[in-house]
Amino acid sequence: MNFTNRDIIGISELTKTEILHILKIAKSLKQKPQPKILEHKVMGSCFFEPSTRTRLSFETAMERLGGKVVGFADPGVTSAKKGESLFDAIKIIGQYVDVIAMRHPIEGAARRAAEATDKPILNGGDGANQHPTQTLLDLFTIQECQKKLEGLSIALVGDLKYGRTTHSLAQALAHFNAKLYFVAPDSLQMPGYICDELKNNNIKFSIHQKIEEVINKVDIFYMTRIQGERFADPMEYERVKNVFVLNAKMLEKAKPNLKVMHPLPRVNEITTSVDKTPHAYYFEQAENGLYVREALLGLVLGKL
């Protein structure tokens, strides 16, 4: 398996074997840090859109492997403001650095960036399109807390229509024979094309409108935030926003191995009462982003 110089643009480009290899490397880095393997390597951290966790974990990952980071967290400081194309910007940055981690608000920006430079591009999110490192860290976390990936019951909850996180995770879970429960208001249910893909892969899934219908059945409860601006009718938002809230009481009859995940930031959809239960696993999940990004950096730079 050769990852050297490879772009990581979307999760669907990775085979099951490749995903498992990345997770294995991430686990070994979590257990045994490698503070020198990327010495003398430089990562360009190109964030054309604000991000906290993704940017800081990419940058920390590079530093913890001994590499250096240059970059920007606000396109206002770059020539993009002067009208420079993304292609030109990435072509030039690619001449300075060994690898580029990027986020951009426009869909397809990462693919375009990959055409501009020979250096590997790690996509940290291109608009509502792809965010493969999030999916990899989700899979890593599921594997870590359940000791396996195959055959789990997994609920995806919240905004399933617009959330790229849940789309990519559902697609990736198709490799692992998961039973999926989609819990969302009607207007924010999983798009038909994802459901069709799952059917083609013989993945079982069911549609639900209430958390209570699934909470005692699942191994993973993956919550996402419902954003008010997604609703044409503010009344409808007011109605659903209190239905899609998880609190500690609702977990009383959950399976002992149930873990609650969330890509974060959360607002009020998981109350702080859940934090103290043994089911909460979203902070560990966020931490795991570090090891998965370390694994990718080491792999695409040919050092792991």
């Binding site: 979307g10 194309s85 993304l86 292609f87 426009i106 869909e107 397809g108 693919r111 375009r112 094309y193």
Partner: protein, 159 residues
């Protein structure tokens, strides 16, 4: 046969040398003319819009005198009108007749309907992967990865 159909038939057979594009999905003939610059010369171009068709209900038709479409141009016709038939006419006879066949990958020509796709925000060519499912043709944008039915493509650009 109705009078209008007879006239239409006469128009098609009357061409000496050139190309007749028949069975064009209704309402697409003018787009094809624009895309292929078919009217960019002083030879005669005849266009039929919303003509009755046994198989299609309604169809469009274009007849261009003095110009034989290239393979590349035929591919472009297929993108807009996958059911079109192309007749190359030489000395009043049909010299060649074939169906337009949509390519597996379409570069440039099609404008991505997604306004926040990078191809609509940067000076660059578009690229689509063609998915043929039974009678449906869907185009998947190489960049934003959205999939569109052929009829949702609204705009085409000339390169």
């Amino acid at each position: 046969m109705s009078e209008s159909l007879q006239k239409n038939k006469l128009l098609v057979t009357a061409i000496k040398d050139g190309t007749v594009i028949d069975h064009i999905t209704a309402a697409h003939a003018l787009k094809i003319i624009r895309l292929l610059n078919l009217a960019d010369h002083n030879k005669r171009v005849t266009v039929g819009l919303n003509l009755p068709s046994k198989t299609m209900g309604l169809k469009d038709l274009i007849k261009v005198e003095g110009r034989e479409l290239t393979e590349e141009e035929i591919k472009r016709v297929a993108i807009l009108a996958p059911e079109a038939t192309i007749n190359i006419i030489k000395n009043y006879q049909i010299a060649k007749k074939f169906h337009a066949e949509i390519p597996d990958v379409i570069e440039y020509v099609v404008v991505c309907p997604n306004p926040i796709c990078i191809t609509n925000n940067e000076n660059m060519d578009s690229k689509f992967i063609v998915k043929k499912e039974k009678n449906n043709i869907k185009l998947k944008c190489w960049y934003c990865e959205k999939t569109f039915p052929q009829e949702e493509i609204r705009d085409y650009k000339n390169n």
